[in-house]
């Protein structure tokens, strides 16, 4: 598999901070565009949607790291923490836009969380990501030991909830949320199959 080593060689030369910069640049760009008319005549909705999509894409990228290494020999492990924390950052920005620019009133925030399944599910995904973000540092990894890995399996559930959130909010029968859900379930399925193969 010549692709794996080639990518690994290139990836070794990329510093993690470059991933952070590349990951945060879209957020800065989007806020700038929204403020200056670049996102069209309804910037709040556009911003909310684009941040949500980026959050989901980053969650999926984080989920892809392990299968990529196991199945294709592509090692992007060094970037996984940055991907996860970036995903969390985008969920926070997405939530902030919803709170401050979209619904605007705290009373309605509660009402929506309780009454609207897609918001409930999104909020559950966000809450699950908090302990993961808080423990995404060397000190926590050392302190928690084997419990760290168990805890971080919550990222599977968070991604599923993110995908479900998108499915629930789409109007009519749409392809895009199905593709995201398929990607998430596919990446999780790759993990399930693995032990059986090793046993054989």
């Amino acid at each position: 598999m010549p692709l794996g080593p080639a990518i690994n060689g290139a990836a070794r030369r990329v510093p993690v901070w470059a991933v952070w910069i590349a990951g945060l640049a879209p957020a800065a760009w989007l806020f700038w565009q929204a403020a200056t008319g670049g996102l069209g005549v309804e910037p709040v909705e556009a911003l909310e949607h684009r941040l949500g999509e980026l959050a989901l894409q980053l969650l999926i990228a984080g989920l892809a790291v392990t299968p990529l290494r196991r199945h294709l020999g592509v090692n992007l492990m060094r970037f996984r923490r940055a991907l996860g924390l970036l995903a969390f950052t985008y969920v926070c920005l997405h939530l902030a836009v919803w709170l401050l620019l979209d619904v605007q009133t705290l009373a309605r925030v509660w009402e929506d969380v309780l009454k609207r399944p897609y918001i409930t599910v999104g909020m559950a995904g966000f809450l699950l990501l908090i302990p993961l973000a808080v423990t995404s540092n060397d000190w926590s990894v050392r302190r928690l030991g084997s419990r760290w890995r168990r805890l971080h399996r919550l990222s599977y559930l968070a991604a599923v909830l993110g995908g479900l959130h998108f499915l629930l909010l789409a109007k009519g029968f749409q392809l895009e949320p199905l593709l995201y859900a398929g990607a998430i379930l596919g990446l999780l399925a790759l993990r399930l199959r693995l032990p059986r193969r090793q046993a054989a």
Binding site: A34, A35, G40, V41, E42, P43, V44, E45, A46, L47, L101, D102, V103, Q104, R108, E111, D112, K115, R116, P117, Y118, L168, L169, K171, G172, F173, Q174, L175, E176
Partner: protein
């Protein structure tokens, strides 16, 4: 039957050409028509500052061209709108395929500045040009057994990238009760700001029912059928719990997935406050009588 409904804002015959395309230009036109009339204006008119051409034509729902708000403006150019005809059939005296030119030669085009409220909780104000649907229906001769009017949108798989996926059950269909269809507020629009209707806004001919959520105002109409029974409607078929046949704008009846109490005005910018939604989108005085005695939480 034309000119059955009026606000002071429509008295701007003197709008200078070329000033149409910006809101400021439009307001200048209104000022030209006489500031004095502003004083006596009712609630329906006071907030009606039309959105700009760009705000009206770059953010649209027309799922046949894609589900993104910018898809219709990008893809609708491929739609063939000439020649165009409308089949009017069902319980009418003169069922036929009516050529658009023939229809237009018999209708009186007037301007109607209406609030437009989408079920997705955004809104804008549009200066439509069009004629009353009642005039068109009378041209075909409504028979006494007719109770409802069914509408159908143009469908062409080669011209509409969005219909490759069954987002909805194509073609798009809508319907009104006959008294709603005959109401003076209900128009068939042919233009905006005095220009031809852009394709993304439903060229060459679309329905506009200002007191209902926007999806009732079906675009690019090719067929109008008078029926005795309530006709099926696209969003109701897709999700009956979320979209009823009536779909009147009602701040007290929420969509299951979001509140309808407030709305976001297109073009107001990133930091604008949401505005309260009005019953029947501000047209309660004109249309509330149509629904007297009906439980609007049941007939949503």
């Amino acid at each position: 039957m034309a000119y059955r409904w009026k606000t002071d804002l429509t008295e701007r015959d003197v709008t200078p050409e070329g000033a149409w395309l910006t809101r400021r230009g439009l307001m200048a036109g209104i000022a030209g028509a006489g500031i004095a009339t502003l004083a006596g204006r009712g609630r329906a008119a006071e907030a009606l500052e039309p959105n700009t051409w760009e705000e009206i034509t770059t953010y649209n729902n027309f799922y046949e061209f894609g589900t993104d708000k910018t898809d219709p403006a990008r893809h609708a150019g491929a739609m063939t709108i000439a020649p165009w005809s409308v089949r009017i059939d069902g319980l009418v005296d003169r069922p036929a395929d009516y050529a658009l030119e023939d229809i237009l030669s018999r209708m009186t085009i007037e301007e109607r500045i209406y609030r437009f409220r989408c079920v997705e909780a955004w809104s804008r104000v549009v200066p439509w040009n069009g004629f009353e649907l009642a005039d068109l229906l009378e041209m075909a001769g409504v028979q006494s057994g007719a109770r409802y009017v069914a509408f159908e949108t143009y469908l062409n798989r080669d011209e509409m990238p969005g219909v490759r996926f069954p987002v909805l059950d194509w073609p798009y269909v809508e319907g009104l009760r006959l008294d709603e269809a005959m109401h003076p507020l209900t128009i068939m629009a042919t233009g905006i700001y005095g220009r031809d209707l852009p394709k993304q806004n439903g060229a060459p001919l679309r329905l506009v029912v200002p007191w209902k959520y926007g999806f009732k105002s079906i675009k690019s109409v090719v067929r109008i059928t008078l029926t005795a029974e309530q006709p099926p409607t696209s969003w109701n078929k897709a999700n009956p719990r979320e979209y009823g046949f009536y779909s009147n704008v009602n701040p007290e009846v929420d969509h299951p997935r979001w509140s309808q109490a407030t709305e976001r005005r297109i073009g107001a910018g990133l930091f604008a406050r949401r505005e309260p939604t009005q019953m029947f989108n501000g047209y309660a005085e004109e249309v509330a009588g149509l629904y007297e005695g009906m439980d609007l939480t049941k007939f949503y």
